[in-house]
Amino acid sequence: MNDISQAIPFLGKRNPKAALFALVVIALVSPVVAAMFGNTWVRILNFAMLYILLSIGLNLVVGFAGLLDLGYIAFYAVGAYTWAFLASPHFGLHLPFWIVLPLGAGFAALAGIALGFPTLRLRGDYLAIVTLGFGEIVRIFMNNLTHPVNITNGPQGIDQIDGMSLFGLDLNRGLQITEGFQVKSLFLYYYVFLAFVVLAVILVKRIQVSRIGRAWAAIRDDELAAKAIGINTRNLKLLAFAMGATFGGVSGGLFGAFQGFVSPESFTLMESIAILTMIVFGGMGNLAGVIVGALALSFLPEVLRYIALPVQMAIFGKVFLDPEVLRMLLLSLAMILMMLLKPAGLVPAQSRYSKADLLGDKEIAQ
C-alpha cells in the first residue's frame, strides 16, 4: 500500500509506514474535526468521499486503460436512479440495501458494456465525444421519460428515497449508544462511505498489479503493441468500461440513499468534467494522486465559498462571483494549467510497472 501513502507530501516518500498511519488517523478523525466547523462540513466530507469513489472508478478507465470517458456521470445516474426506483414511494418499492446496491452496480456495468461495445474501435478524441453524447442521452431520458408512463418524474426528480440500513441499523436515524451519546446520521454515512473507499482502494491496488492492470497499461501506452503481444484488447477495454461503470453505479446508489433525492440536475456534463479534472489535477493513473485530486477539488470550492463571498461583500459591497461560478472557474483553470504546466498531476504516477515497484516490497524485488 506504499503508494497510497504518497498522498501525504514529504512524509509519504521518507517514511511510508508513518504516512499510512497518519492517513488512517486523519480518515477516522476528520468528521469529528469537520463537525467543529458545523455539520455542513461533514456533509461536504461525505460528498468528498463519493467524489473519491467516482474518481477511482473513472481513473480505471482514463488513467489505467487510457480511454477518455466524458459521460462517466451517466453511470452514477444509473446507480442513483436504480436506488430511487427500487427504494422510494415513487413505485412503492422498498427493497433492502443488499439487493438495491448490487442491482445498481450491475445495471451500471451493463450500461458500461453497452457504451463500450460500439466505441471499441474509436481513438481517444472520438471516444470522448461519443461518451459525452452517451451522458447527454441518459440525461435527456431522465428529463423526459414521464409519459405515457411516468418513470423518472422528469426534471422534478424523485424524492423521499429510503436511507441506507445496514445490519438492522438505519443510517438515517443515527446510532444511540448511551442515553446521552448519539452518533449522528451524517457520521454514520461518513464511515460507511469511508469503508467503501478503503475497499475500492484495496481492490484497485490489486487490479493494478494483476495481469489485467498491466494489460491496461500496455493498451494505454501502445494499443497496437499490446495487441501484438497477445493481449485481448477488446475484452480488456470492455472490462475497463464495465469496472469503471460499476464504481460509478455503486457511488450513485450511495448518493441516492444519502441525499434522499435524485434529479437530472445532479448528473450534468459539468459533473463528468469535474471528476475528470480531479483525476488530471491529482495525477492520472495514480491512486494516491486521484484521491488527493478528489479531496482537493471537492474542498477548495467550498473553502472559496466561505472566503470569497465575505471578501467580495467587504470590498465591493456585492457578490460578483457566486460559488457555482467560482467552482467552474477553479475547475477549468485547474484543468488547463495542470495540462500546460504539470501534465502528470500533483502526485505523478510511476512509469514502471513491475509488481515490486508497485507494492514497494523488497522481498519480491530481490
Partner: protein
C-alpha cells in the same frame, strides 16, 4: 406533404448553420488532428458580443436601418472571436502540439468551460433576448409552406461563407499553404510555409465563421446566453464526422444532412414512436447518427481519413 416540406426547409436552415460551424472543426482537425472542443463556445461568445454591440449601437446611434445594426453587430463579433480563437491556439494548444494525445483534448475541454464561465461572469446566467433585426414574419414560399426572412438570410449568409472559404482554400496561395500544412507540417515548413502562422490563421478563420453562426443562431431563436454554444458545437462536430472529418465538402454535406434528419425526425418522432417519444428528444438524433457513423463508416460520407489511427 406540406409538413414534410416545411420540415425540410427548417432542416436546411439549421443544417446550414451546422455546416458553417462544422467547417471550423474540420479545418482545425485537418491541420492539427485535434478536436477543438472550445469551438462551440467561440460561437456563443460571438452571439453575446454581437448582442452587446447591437444594443450599444442602438442606444448610441438611434434611427439606423435594422440591417445596419445587424451588420455592425457582425462586424464587432467577428474580430472579437478571431482574437479569442488566436488566443486559445497560442496559449492553450500550441505548447501541447507534441504532447501525448489526451493532453490537448483535456486542455480543450478546460478552455471550453473557461469560456462558458467567463461568459457567465460577464453576461450573467440569464437569457438575453437577442434583437430581432431581420423580419420574422413568415412568408409563404409554396402553398402552406413558410419561411421567415431570418431563415432566408441564414441560408444565404451560410452559403456565401461556404463558397468564400472553398475559394480561399482552393484558389489562393494562403489556401495552398493551408493544404500543405495539413498534408505534412514538416515538409510544408521546409518549403517555406510559416506553419505556425497557418495554424493560427486556421483558428482565426474558423472562429470568424463561428461568430457568424452564433449571430445567426441567436437571431433565429431570439435569445443568447452563456451555454448556447454547447449543443450546436456538439452537433456541428457530429456533422463534421458524418461528412468525413478533415474534409471541407464533407462538413457542408454533413451539416445539411444532419439538419434534415433532425428536423424531419423531430417532426415525426411522436407518430413513429406511438406517443412514447416527442420532440423534446430531438437532440438524441445527432448522437445516434454520430454513433452509427463511427461504428459503420468512421471515415464519414466523403472522408478518406481513417478514424482508427490508434
Amino acid at each position: 406533404m406540406q409538413t414534410l416540406l416545411q420540415q425540410i426547409i427548417n432542416g436546411l436552415v439549421v443544417g446550414s448553420v451546422y455546416a458553417v460551424v462544422a467547417l471550423g472543426y474540420t479545418m482545425v482537425y485537418g491541420i492539427l488532428g485535434l478536436i477543438n472542443f472550445a469551438h462551440g463556445d467561440v460561437l456563443m461568445v460571438g452571439a453575446l458580443v454581437a448582442y452587446t454591440a447591437i444594443t450599444f449601437f442602438q442606444a448610441a446611434i438611434p434611427g439606423l436601418s435594422p440591417i445596419v445594426y445587424f451588420a455592425l453587430g457582425l462586424m464587432v463579433a467577428m474580430p472579437a472571436c478571431m482574437v479569442i480563437g488566436y488566443t486559445i491556439e497560442r496559449t492553450a494548444y500550441r505548447r501541447l502540439r507534441n504532447a501525448p494525445r489526451l493532453a490537448p483534448l483535456i486542455t480543450a475541454i478546460g478552455v471550453s468551460f473557461l469560456l462558458q464561465t467567463l461568459a457567465m461572469i460577464i453576461w450573467g446566467r440569464n437569457y438575453h433576448s437577442f434583437p430581432q433585426l431581420i423580419q420574422t414574419a413568415p412568408i409563404e414560399v409554396v402553398t402552406g409552406v413558410f419561411m421567415t426572412p431570418v431563415q432566408m438570410t441564414t441560408v444565404g449568409l451560410s452559403a456565401a461563407m461556404m463558397v468564400g472559404l472553398v475559394l480561399l482554400v482552393t484558389r489562393t496561395n494562403m489556401g495552398r499553404a493551408m493544404r500543405a500544412t495539413a498534408e505534412n507540417h514538416r515538409v510544408a515548413s521546409l518549403m517555406g510555409v510559416d506553419t505556425n502562422g497557418i495554424i493560427a490563421l486556421t483558428f482565426i478563420i474558423g472562429s470568424a465563421l463561428a461568430a457568424v453562426a452564433g449571430v445567426m443562431i441567436a437571431s433565429n431563436y431570439g435569445v443568447a446566453h452563456y451555454s448556447m454554444g454547447f449543443m450546436p458545437g456538439l452537433k456541428a462536430f457530429t456533422a463534421a464526422v458524418l461528412g468525413g472529418i478533415g474534409n471541407l465538402a464533407g462538413a457542408m454535406v454533413g451539416g445539411i444532412v444532419l439538419g434534415l434528419v433532425e428536423a424531419i425526425g423531430a417532426g415525426y418522432i411522436e407518430t413513429w414512436s406511438g406517443g412514447w417519444l416527442n420532440s423534446s428528444y430531438q437532440d438524441i438524433f445527432a448522437f445516434i447518427i454520430l454513433g452509427i457513423v463511427l461504428i459503420f463508416r468512421p471515415t464519414g460520407l466523403l472522408g478518406e481519413r481513417v478514424a482508427d489511427r490508434a
